[in-house]
Amino acid sequence: MEHVTIGLSAIITKDNKLIKKFLYGLIPFILLLVGWWAISLRLESYLLPSPDTVIDAFSKAICTGELLRHTVSSMVKIAGGYLLALLFAIPLGIMIGLWQRAHDMLNPLVQMARFVPSIALIPIIVLWFGIGYQAATVIIFWGAFSPVLISTISGVEGVEIEYVDFALTHGAQRRHLLTKVIIPAALPDIFVGMRLGLSYAWRAMIAAEMLASKFGLGYLIMDARWLMQTERVIMGIITIGFIGLLLDFSFRSAEESMLKWRKGMVLK
């Protein structure tokens, strides 16, 4: 009985912590909502619709399936382009990080490319690939590629030499160094790059959808803009932000799970 009580107390205490964390995170949103409502009372509705007008827009978009349709379209686009970016950027980043010649050859190009935003490439990409999923995939790929690549290079280059020496002196074969020492040690940086890449890819996709697409959350916002439906514009913005939050949360959970070994070794 005692064990059960202690167990339950532990669960309740853990749940209390999560609940507290959730509530703290909710406070800024509540303040924002109250502020928005207060300001909307003083402004014309075409400048800032009230929260209830936006909620009304949400319910219409959900009931007609419009919001789901556009959200799914955006998610499908981002999945393809983002995974492709990881597939190329991580191995390339490892190669550049490990091999000096590759670094000397490719680094100038990498540094130049990373300053070119996806949005600048849209006119060219649309001409080459049309306006379907192919073009969106390329735009998203470009958006995610640089941050993942650069973080991977940085992670690999930052692996402490002591780890490598320790592994070698304890009998590790050279071929195991990559998979058992270098990649695991570089993973935290790679994950940072992957998270950044995801947010850049998401933004690139929204921009692409605004300019040349028939579906997606970016298209939804531009459509609402043209029809001067500010409430739908705000609805689109909130949806984008919310999905971004969910994606980030999923990412962090996966990161925590894969980097369990860091627990107790770092501040957070």
Partner: protein
């Protein structure tokens, strides 16, 4: 004492703009937005020939790239701009959602439908199943494109693929086979023909919406109320421009060619191809509003009587 002096100077500097701006507000120029295109010809002419000055109105013209109707609507809504010209469909949407009125027109807004030279499309029925580039929902080109297809029993959402491609990229997209047809502006139709990429399939305004104001001028209600005579003078100046254009195609083409980077010959062709008039016909506008409402672009029917206020008569 020194700190006190510094503080007084700072307070003086802070309140000075309020006095300056107050006095400027009385003679503040009216900010008129234009989109750099053939349809801005009346404004180009009015500036070049001094019609605004002759009418006694102080106008500051601000240029935007062609296709900037959204930016102009938003500029007017925020107060950065006082007035501007936009397509009729977006103007009708605006009068239902924002405190603006339509006060003048200068032309139809012809939107030629072009097809690739080797597309094999001979008439409008040939557009069935094809990819047609238009602008966004609610724009004039989208409205006319859909209206045209519907008249030939082609459902634009089911029997054709209406794709949004920015206007400047439509010719290259056609050349690369990405699209089969496009709804374009007159200058782009002329350019497409001169580049050997496209040919005009139909001029839908001439055929189905004759004498319909397509390019209209909108202004904030508040401006029309507080500075009605200035707005009226601007409308009068624009009417004079329209009369000038109709009598002086060649001179107008020279002005337009300098402004939008077309050769004088192509500019002349474009200027001649547009029907310029200043009669803001409410009956025609009502017909367009009806079609827009039925298509779902308008969530409520606009009050044409209060939203359309002809000031050039």
């Amino acid at each position: 004492m020194r700190i006190k002096n510094i503080l007084m100077i700072m307070v003086g500097l802070l309140i000075m703009p309020f006095f300056v701006s107050t006095s400027e507000a009385v003679e503040r120029p009216i900010v008129l937005a234009l989109q750099n295109s053939q349809y801005a010809a009346p404004i180009y002419v009015a500036v070049e020939k001094g019609f605004f000055k002759q009418e006694g109105v102080n106008v500051e013209v601000r240029s935007f790239p062609s296709g900037s109707s959204s930016a102009i609507h938003e500029g007017i809504a925020s107060g950065d701009l006082d007035m501007g010209y936009v397509g009729l469909s977006s103007a009708l949407i605006a009068i239902t959602r924002r405190p603006v009125v339509i006060f003048a027109t200068t032309s139809v807004c012809e939107v030629p439908i072009i097809v690739g030279l080797n597309s094999g499309i001979k008439d409008i029925s040939g557009l069935k199943g094809k990819k047609i580039a238009v602008s966004r929902r609610g724009t004039w080109s989208d409205f006319i494109g859909r209206d045209l297809l519907s008249r030939y029993n082609i459902n634009p959402d089911k029997d054709a693929d209406m794709v949004m491609i920015p206007m400047p990229e439509r010719l290259i997209a056609m050349k690369n086979g990405i699209i089969d047809a496009a709804v374009v502006s007159p200058w782009l139709a002329v350019k497409g023909r001169s580049m050997g990429i496209s040919k005009v399939l139909v001029l839908p305004i001439e055929k189905f919406w004759p004498q319909t104001p397509g390019i209209v001028y909108i202004a904030r209600n508040e401006l029309v109320k507080n500075r009605k005579y200035d707005v009226k003078k601007i409308a009068q100046a624009l009417k004079r421009s329209v009369d000038y254009i109709n009598q002086n195609h060649k001179e107008t083409a020279e002005i337009v060619s300098q402004k939008i980077g077309l050769s004088p010959e192509l500019a002349l062709e474009v200027v001649k191809s547009i029907l310029w008039f200043s009669d803001l016909r409410k009956d025609k506008i009502r017909m367009v509003a009806d079609a827009l409402y039925k298509s779902g672009c308008l969530t409520k029917f606009p009050d044409i009587d209060s939203g359309v206020v002809p000031l050039s008569n």
